[in-house]
């Protein structure tokens, strides 16, 4: 599919991608195989920082990234079965994310690019989450639902950019669950065997209780919901079933809000594909609700599988490849990190008009 742009290149193309925007340090490699004319992910290694207590401490996370970087890099190259000198370009997520964490990835990228004389490709982390989803399911023009610890938004592509149709006005959905389970003493760890604490706690509950539901057109607000749930949870500190009811209802309310605004955006835009990306894409209850919703409107649904839903290096490498074939790169000394680099600011030549 990339043949038109690539013309007749003779050798395989290898792009290495570095992810370090938040809790994950990851390195991925993609290969464009000239003979098969296909793009493949050939390595996706990562190491996740898990706080001992509380939320993410940016400096602690950055320290984690610095320590694990050499090992993750070595493993990724081993898995890909290539040497650094075979790589055509280094892609790095320069934002959005946490400053200290971003700097680790950016420094490594600058070093690799300068030392091995490779092109350096800046990648927007949010764009990468979307591109890997489109790649995995061969979606061309989906309604995008991007939900993670740091983001909750609904977008479509239009005129070479991703355009936001709705987003959270306060806290992101992943952050809502993290904060709630932390405040009631269940987290960290936030995820056990791929299951979030909110889902574990919800299994203790039986009954739905009404909680604040705030949608403004296609925008969402979760802060009222969080506060109300926390107030109720304080009363039932030692009552497992009551606490379970709150977890169950919190999750139900938050997901209903998200699915409702997604549905409204789907009808507004008339898209035929719905793509769920970001860390929360691994949640099976959200997936079930979205499948039920899209079925009503006859749209195809897909969500990135856990391996590629959370932050990872493969998605950065993949987006790096798209940029590479459009000749997007920067001088290493101009690799500014951008903590607040918004999805809808990035102009992407591979998107249609």
């Amino acid at each position: 599919m990339y043949v038109d742009i690539l013309g007749n290149v003779k050798d395989n193309i290898y792009i290495l991608g570095i992810e370090s925007t938040s809790h994950t340090f990851g390195i991925g490699v993609v290969e464009y195989n000239v003979r098969e004319k296909s793009l493949k992910i050939i390595a996706n290694e990562y190491d996740r920082y898990v706080p001992m207590k509380g939320g993410i401490h940016p400096r602690e996370a950055a320290l984690h990234h610095t320590r694990t970087a050499p090992q993750v890099l070595r493993k990724a190259l081993e898995r890909a079965g290539i040497k650094i000198k075979n790589i055509n370009a280094i892609a790095v997520a320069l934002g959005p994310g946490l400053g200290p964490c971003l700097r680790v990835g950016a420094s490594l990228a600058r070093f690799l690019a300068s030392y091995y004389k490779l092109k350096l490709i800046p990648v927007n982390h949010a764009v990468a989450h979307i591109e890997i989803g489109k790649y995995l399911f061969n979606f061309k023009d989906p309604l995008i639902i991007y939900v993670s610890g740091g983001n909750t938004l609904i977008a479509i592509q239009k005129n070479k950019k991703y355009r936001i149709l709705g987003e959270t006005l306060d806290i992101p959905l992943g952050n809502l669950f993290d904060t709630f389970t932390r405040e009631i003493g269940l987290s960290p760890p936030y995820v056990i065997d791929g299951k979030h604490q909110i889902d574990i706690c919800a299994e203790w509950g039986k009954e739905f209780i009404p909680l604040p539901y705030t949608v403004k057109g296609s925008d969402l607000s979760f802060s009222g919901l969080l506060t109300a749930a926390l107030i109720q949870a304080k009363e039932y500190k030692n009552n497992k079933e009551k606490l379970g009811n709150i977890c169950l209802s919190l999750r139900e309310t938050a997901f209903n809000m998200l699915v409702e605004v997604a549905e409204r955006s789907l009808v507004l835009t008339g898209k035929k594909e719905v793509l769920l990306v970001g860390g929360v894409a691994s949640n099976k209850y959200l997936r079930e609700k979205l499948i039920a919703m899209t079925r009503v409107h006859g749209a195809k649904y897909a969500g990135t599988p856990p391996e590629y839903a959370g932050d990872n290096g493969a998605m950065i490498a993949l987006t790096g490849f798209l940029s590479y074939i459009y000749n997007i790169h920067i001088e290493p000394e101009k690799a500014f990190i951008r903590q607040r680099w918004r999805l809808d600011e990035v102009e992407l030549p591979w998107l249609p008009n």
Binding site: N159, R264, A335
Partner: protein, 228 residues
């Protein structure tokens, strides 16, 4: 069955729209359907309250001569509203193909209508291009779909309406945004009784509220320097 006599005319995000006739006039039946993704207990409450809200706001607006379909019959128990059929097409389907003059009149008309609505202390709650119908022959525009509407004196709610409209244009027809908003604001300023400037300033504030909007932070934070 009633559905055999009439045809499903359209499907919204919340409802199925059926077209029919009542005393020789074209009508539509808006039926808020059950949502398979929502817990039945909540679903029931949602459909009822939104039907009730829509019926109440529609009649208030209709009585005050805002361009909305006349509400005719409300069946709360079944979450059904029967209303006047509006001859027209959704602005979301038209906007890309409108020439500049059509675009300007539509935007101006919509601004006028929105200003009247806000002057009645009513906000829409979902003012996107899919909820605006345009009649191409008489150039009239109609606002529909009031399930998320409400009464408020808080300009925040009015600003959200304009913000939602702005953003839906930005997503569907970004190159038409500037012309549209200019004429919309012209119409709005002519009919809104309150302080237009205040509302527009709030629209700007809301736009900057998005989590990763850089502009807001530029003011507060030093820009990131070169990485060492």
């Amino acid at each position: 069955m009633a559905t055999q006599l009439v045809n499903v005319f359209d499907k919204g995000a919340e409802s199925v729209i059926i077209q029919g006739e009542l005393l020789g006039k074209k009508i539509i039946v808006k039926y808020r359907v059950k949502k398979p993704y929502r817990h039945p207990k909540f679903d029931e409450i949602f459909r009822k309250t939104r039907t009730k809200t829509e019926a109440k706001i529609l009649s208030e607006l209709y009585m005050n001569k805002v361009n909305v379909p006349a509400p005719l019959i409300v069946d709360l128990k079944n979450s059904i509203i029967i209303m006047e059929h509006i001859e027209g097409q959704k602005l979301s389907d038209l906007i890309e193909y409108m020439d500049i003059e059509e675009l300007k009149t539509t935007a101006y008309q919509l601004g006028l209508q929105t200003g009247i609505m806000h002057s009645l202390n009513i906000y829409h709650g979902d003012l996107t291009l899919a909820n605006i119908l345009v009649n191409k022959s008489n150039k009239k525009i109609y606002i529909i779909d009031f399930g998320l509407a409400g009464y408020s004196r808080d300009i925040e709610e009015y600003a959200i309406d304009i913000h939602l409209l702005r953003r839906s244009i930005l997503a569907l027809a970004p190159d038409k945004l500037d012309v549209f908003m200019e004429k919309f604001i012209k119409g709005y300023s002519e009919s809104y009784h309150g302080n237009v400037h205040e509302v527009l300033q709030r629209v700007e504030e809301i736009r900057l509220r998005g989590r990763y909007v850089e502009e807001r932070l530029k003011k507060k934070m030093l820009r990131d320097k070169y990485i060492e």
